[in-house]
Every structure is written in structure tokens, then in C-alpha cells.
Subunit: 267 residues, 2 copies
């Protein structure tokens, strides 16, 4: 249980004080937070609430979106928010293609350049940037970084203290190269974050909110956990599930079911 972290997205809509109380009650010590929810509550208020409860912020989701005009300022703000929350990791989703563009190579190269711009600020703030490869079904409109190999190649020019990768089972399970890349990520000290969700079908329209709680789908979750462990990762294991049907249920019930699935399928 000491590595388990509840990513706030799994229990979307749970007010932060209730989430904190629910985690304490369930013995959960780590939470992954989302910028929108934190901003709404107030960054300082959120930081104090979490700290006073004795919880740890395992990651802040998310920034990136490097095809937007204000990406530099926005990502600097996000780094500052992560630092204020004492979150060691800021998850970056790269964004998709610029409007009208067909040049995915250029969009991917731009991600690498943008990371370079952010590295000094990240180092100064003590926040590691975690490039998150998203499933290729998001490649055009949400994230041009589609594989762990791409994320590691993008991270390679920069110090490990500043740039790593997020290993998310939902996005990477289909990739037969992922096991070698997880081992590489360990060798290169790049595993900044490990997130767990299961793959279920049919996918809903827009494909964003159709993930499964651990154990409800077809992903070899324990194989992933063993792989990141074997690569030397000892950090938190965040469960992050986007699912409309899950969000419609009582959050505490969802947390309990998440913990059950974690015990049976991940640990």
C-alpha cells in the first residue's frame, strides 16, 4: 500500500477535502493531482491541505501542449505549481499537430526543442518533467509522442534530474517494444512516473474516457509493475482511470474497488 497513489482523475468530481479524508480513511498516502482542480481550490490551499493531512503529492497532471501559442509561459506556470505542491513530477502531454498540419515529424521535433527551453526552470524548481507517450489513437489531436521509445529519445539530450518519461499501462500495453524500452528507461534513469489503467472496449466516441479500473481489462498490469521494478523504479504507482461510468459512481466506492484491483492485479 505504501506505493499506491490515487490519481485525482480516477475519482473526478470528488472535492479535494473529501478526497483527502477518503484517502486517509482508506490508508492511501499518495495522490496525483490535476492542475484545473488545484487551481480551482487554490494552489496554496491545496498544498496546505495535503501537507497538513500528511499526504504526498506524487505527480501533477498536466502541462505540455507545445503546439499552443502560450506553451512556454503556461509550462513555466505549471512547473511553479508543481513546486508549490511539493510534487516531484510534472506530467507533460505534448499536444497534437498544429491546426492544418500534416507534419508529425516536425511536431515531434518541436517537443524536443520545447523541453530544452523548460529544463533550466525545471531544474531550478526541483521538478522533473515526465514526457507521457499517449496511445497512438491520440497522435493527431492530443499527443504526437506515441511510444516510450520516442519519449526516451526526446528526453535523451537533457539531464535525468530535469526530464524523464511517464510509463502508463493504458497507453503502452499494445507495444511489443515496451519491455525493452522500460529496461532502457531504467538504465537511463528516466522512469519519472508509473501510471496504471486497464484497456477495455468498445471505446467511446472521442476515445478519452473509456479506461478501465485495474483488472477490468486486458492489460498485463503486473507484468508492467514487475518490469518497472526490474528497471530499478521504486516510486509511486498511480492509478489513473478516465471513465464516465466510473465517475458517475460514489467516489469512495470507486477508491475501494481501485484498491481491490490494485491488490489483485498490480502488486
Amino acid at each position: 500500500m505504501k506505493r499506491f497513489s490515487l490519481n485525482q482523475a480516477t475519482t473526478k468530481g470528488w472535492p479535494l477535502p473529501d478526497l483527502v479524508a477518503g484517502c486517509l480513511d482508506a490508508g492511501v498516502t499518495g495522490v496525483g493531482l490535476w492542475r484545473e482542480e488545484v487551481q480551482e481550490f487554490g494552489v496554496r490551499n491545496a498544498a496546505a491541505l495535503i501537507r497538513d493531512a500528511g499526504l504526498t503529492v506524487t505527480s501533477l497532471c498536466r502541462s505540455g501542449f507545445f503546439q499552443q501559442d502560450d506553451w512556454l509561459d503556461e509550462n513555466r506556470r505549471a512547473i511553479d505549481e508543481a513546486a508549490a505542491l511539493a510534487a516531484p513530477v510534472l506530467v507533460l502531454v505534448s499536444g497534437g499537430l498544429p491546426p492544418g498540419s500534416r507534419d508529425i515529424d516536425a511536431a515531434r521535433a518541436h517537443v524536443g526543442d520545447a523541453l530544452g527551453e523548460l529544463v533550466p526552470h525545471a531544474l531550478a524548481a526541483g521538478v522533473k518533467l515526465a514526457i507521457e507517450p499517449l496511445h497512438p489513437m491520440f497522435a493527431s489531436d492530443r499527443c504526437v509522442v506515441s511510444t516510450l521509445k520516442q519519449a526516451l529519445d526526446l528526453a535523451a539530450p537533457y539531464p535525468g534530474a530535469a526530464v524523464g518519461a511517464c510509463v502508463d499501462t493504458y497507453h503502452l500495453w499494445w507495444d511489443d517494444d515496451v519491455w525493452e524500452q522500460i529496461a532502457r528507461a531504467g538504465r537511463e534513469d528516466r522512469i519519472a512516473c508509473f501510471q496504471v489503467a486497464d484497456w477495455i472496449t468498445p471505446l467511446p466516441a472521442g476515445v478519452l474516457v473509456g479506461r478501465g479500473l485495474p483488472g477490468t481489462g486486458c492489460v498485463e498490469l503486473r507484468r508492467f509493475r514487475e518490469a518497472v521494478d526490474a528497471a530499478g523504479y521504486t516510486g509511486p504507482i498511480e492509478v489513473e482511470v478516465f471513465n464516465e461510468a466510473v465517475w458517475a459512481r460514489p467516489a469512495r466506492e470507486v477508491l475501494d474497488e481501485t484498491l481491490d484491483g490494485y491488490q489483485v492485479h498490480v502488486r
Copy 2:
């Protein structure tokens, strides 16, 4: 125009005689057919209709689905149908995970074994089996073969006259390794089929019927055509688009728009 082929799925619902007449009228000489439609019309009747019109069947879609109990008989029947239609290529979609399974490695290995079972029949019938990697969003429920590299690795043990791969822009565009794999496919004489569709978002529920006509999306279609050409492929270029909104329109109008998109974005 002589390499263009209209895959029947693009104008789903167009009765075969009308499709043949429409192709002749538009100067289209090649068609890709689907088993369900051909069976409904009668395989012999379809073969005669196409032959008498002077058209060429560029491929038959599709068989595979190796996780089903009757896969061996069903694929042998499909090979016979392709031969009866004088289709040089039978497209194979591997199928997803067996019910309840999380073992994608085993499912992929089974595809390789199943191909081996089919090779003698394919050689005897003069039909090349084209393994089609589908987009990773179909990996669990439709096709465990997700990349061109996987398809080529699966084909490798078997004669090039019996087993090749289908290069489909819709399924492969996100993969930065695809250019190297297309070159490899050329070297290994494995490009059995080249299909074109564009990638558009948002994806519809179930993600099957949300493809774009050539030029309506973000895929570098000409780069793909130039890549297969550079790899030595001189065969047909099939446009295969599954899209509910396209299917709701008059088929001849769709064919004309497809040809326009082909001229501007593929040739």
C-alpha cells in the same frame, strides 16, 4: 489512374453492378472487394461480372480472425474465393485477444503459426496472404498485429509468393518506424497491398467507421505512396474508407470525390 483501385468498403451499399458501371464510367479499372458482399451476390456471379466488364480485382477483404474456432476452414474458404475472383491478394486481419485473455504475445505467436497452416493452400491457389497491421486502438478486439514491423516479422518464415503485408496509411501513419519498415518490406518483397485512407478526429464510438477520404485528414499520403514506390512496389493503390457519413452520400459522388483526393494528395 491505372494504379487506382476503389475498395468496395468506400462506397458501402453500392450494389455490385452499379459499382462496376460507375467504375467503368469514371475510368476506374481496379476494385477491391469484400467477402460478405461477394458472397451475397454469389462468388461466380461476381467473378463473371467483373471479368466481363474488363475490371481487375486488386484484393479480397478479408479473412484472418485466428482466435475463432473455425479459423482454418474459414480462411481456406476465403483463399478459394479470392482465387475464384482472380484476386491476387487476400487481406488478413488477425483478430484480437481470445475472450478473457491478457496474453497478447501468445495471440501474436498464434498468428504466425496459423499463417504456416495456410501457406500450402495459398501457394496452390496462387493467392498471396496480406497480413494487415491495424492501428493499435484495435489491438484487443480486432487485430493483435499493430505495426508493419510485426507483420513483416510474422511473414518472414514463409515464401514471399504466399505471405506479404498490407500497408494501410490509416493504420500506420503515426509510426515513426514505418518508413524504415516500408523500405524493409520492399527489400524482402512483402508489399502485397497498398491501401489509402486519411485520419480524422474526433473518432466515433467503436472507432471503426471514422476514416477520412484522401486529403480530408492529417496523413502524409503522398509520402506513403512515394515510400512504397521507392521500395519497388508497382501495384494498385486502393482507397479504402470506412465512414458512416460518407456511406450516407450518393456512391458516385463519393467515387468522384475520392478520385479528386487521390489526384491531389496521393499521386
